[in-house]
Symmetry: C2
Subunit: 333 residues, 2 copies
């Protein structure tokens, strides 16, 4: 492996000059510059990242922690991040939180210790306060994705979940549904309570009352959706449509509906949330509210770069708007 020293000797200049053309940190006369470039070419020289990092105290890598790696959601986030790191010649190192609080913390610490230049964190179970502390107390820029934490809002990239819940509900309302049930997510998480708030908000817009009997708490996974739907069915509150807090709950609800002999969308309309890959494959294909995960990942990465002073990007979108994706699970009343 040739070093900068070899290049400098071949080009008959000092190492400093080679370094300058490499980093563009200062002007170099055209002749020397050309000589350096030629030498680099000839030797097939590639700068040693370790040495560079040691000298500059930058890793030229950004860390991404996602709660769970093998989920399409996080895959898309990672992809979003990767597109921008790649574009900037930065590495992306990823760690998984394995959907457990201790592991999320562990992954965060691991990434911090190894000195990535910035950290993007998508935590499912770590509480807001802890995340806020991570952002505040870490000596590298930390961007939080998928959470809106007021205390550190400028470091958060998130979806407007209230609007999303309202969007789903309004869609049903527009199709003439008046008695709309809601399978919630975990209500102690912002994602859950915000989407529910959106549901109530949309109902209120139409002057419709909020009925306890029409809502059942789910847990963001299929089983919970199934159980919540059973409960709803059993209450027999006469609804014609259901808004499930995410696609997995919707899948569970769909199964419960099917098991109960109700047809979707002929008897009951159903709307999900997230637009996971499965939404497309369910039968009937699920109408749902899309979260632009990849774009959010990109935004987080840009925010991280901006915090590092690398990216010139003026304003990065931090709050994303959900969009309704119509498929086949909703019928007009």
């Amino acid at each position: 492996m040739p070093t900068i020293r070899d290049v400098s000797q071949l080009a008959k200049v000092s190492q400093a000059t080679v370094s300058r053309v490499l980093t563009g940190s200062a002007v170099v006369s055209p002749t020397k510059r050309a000589a350096v470039l030629a030498a680099i070419e000839q030797l097939g020289y590639q700068p040693n990242t370790f040495a560079r990092s040691l000298a500059t105290n930058r890793s030229y890598a950004i860390g991404a922690m996602v709660s769970e790696l093998s989920s399409t959601v996080y895959g898309e986030i990672i992809r979003g991040i990767e597109t921008v790191t790649e574009e900037c010649g930065l590495q992306m190192v990823v760690a998984s939180g394995h959907a457990r609080e201790d592991a999320e913390r562990g992954a965060f610490e691991f990434l911090s210790e190894r000195r990535t230049d910035a950290l993007i964190v998508q935590a499912d179970v770590t509480p807001d306060d802890d995340l806020a502390a991570w952002v505040r107390d870490s000596d590298l820029p930390v961007i939080v994705i998928g959470r809106h934490i007021p205390a550190v809002a400028e470091r958060c990239v998130y979806l407007d979940n209230v609007e999303g819940g309202a969007l789903a509900t309004r869609h049903l309302l527009e199709r003439g549904h008046r008695r709309i049930a809601h399978v919630t997510g975990l209500m102690h998480l912002a994602d859950g309570s915000d989407r529910c708030a959106g549901y109530r908000y949309a109902l209120a817009e139409q002057g419709l009352p909020f009925e306890e009997a029409l809502v059942a708490e789910g847990d963001f996974v299929e089983e919970g959706g199934y159980r919540a739907m059973q409960l709803l069915l059993q209450r027999d509150a006469g609804f014609t449509a259901v808004f499930a807090a995410n696609d997995q709950s919707a899948a569970g609800a769909l199964k419960a509906l099917r098991d109960a002999g109700r047809r979707v969308p002929e008897d009951i309309s159903l709307v999900g949330f997230d637009d996971l890959i499965i939404a497309h494959y369910l039968y009937p294909a699920l109408t749902t509210v899309r979260q632009p995960f990849a774009e959010m990942g990109q935004a987080a990465a840009r925010l991280a770069l901006a915090a590092l002073g690398v990216d010139e990007q003026k304003e990065v979108t931090r709050r994303f708007d959900p969009v309704l994706v119509e498929r086949d699970s909703v019928a007009a009343l």
Copy 2:
């Protein structure tokens, strides 16, 4: 940030000694060792990775290139890799090939240049020969995942696709089906031709003839599966079951069947391949052949570590066996 120097002064020993207790590279007397540990604790010292890397010429990171990041398959592979890198205190840096040959090459080069200690490559479109060249010519260990390339077999982690195809077909055979159609994958890829070979093999085992009319070429994605199924239907060759070369093709085939008014599994049985997350969500839930992606990722990582002399693991499984996952898309004849 305290450095090794600070630690050595506080502990009243040399930097070399501190380094020795840190890396365990040599014995240190219990007293000094304790002093060092105490100093480290007191200062909250963390070794600087950059300096360490520069000195040892190791990055303590392994690179993973996957063809497409936002796919559950690759998510699982990545997760598998991560579990072992985490266990060994190594970072995992990931890059995406964006399912294009030039990008796959680009990602590979990017990772090589940045000197990860080893590289795990899952390429969809790069030809076998190029991959073999990467393995052979790279100066760091390269492990190929999801391909069996005889020339560099000891660096490959792969599924026995022939056996997988046979497994799917036998399952149908055991349920009494005799006329079994096959929606292939891309036949110029080993995954496609091997699974087809398995199909033929299982047929032959039962003394059944291979009929051209019963096979239609798909492309591993939904649209191709849909079209292939339409073609099969239109030929009217009287089959009672279909083996689709992957779950996405199966999803397309399922839709075509449904559109043609055929019920699955009552009229036609269907088996997929991969056991993607969608298999569970299709209706009826898809019986399919599972690839143990996470385990394969782990194996690849262990192989990489073994090549680095880090892991003591004696023998790492390189060829994985597919397993049949029974759900609701197959009925006995």
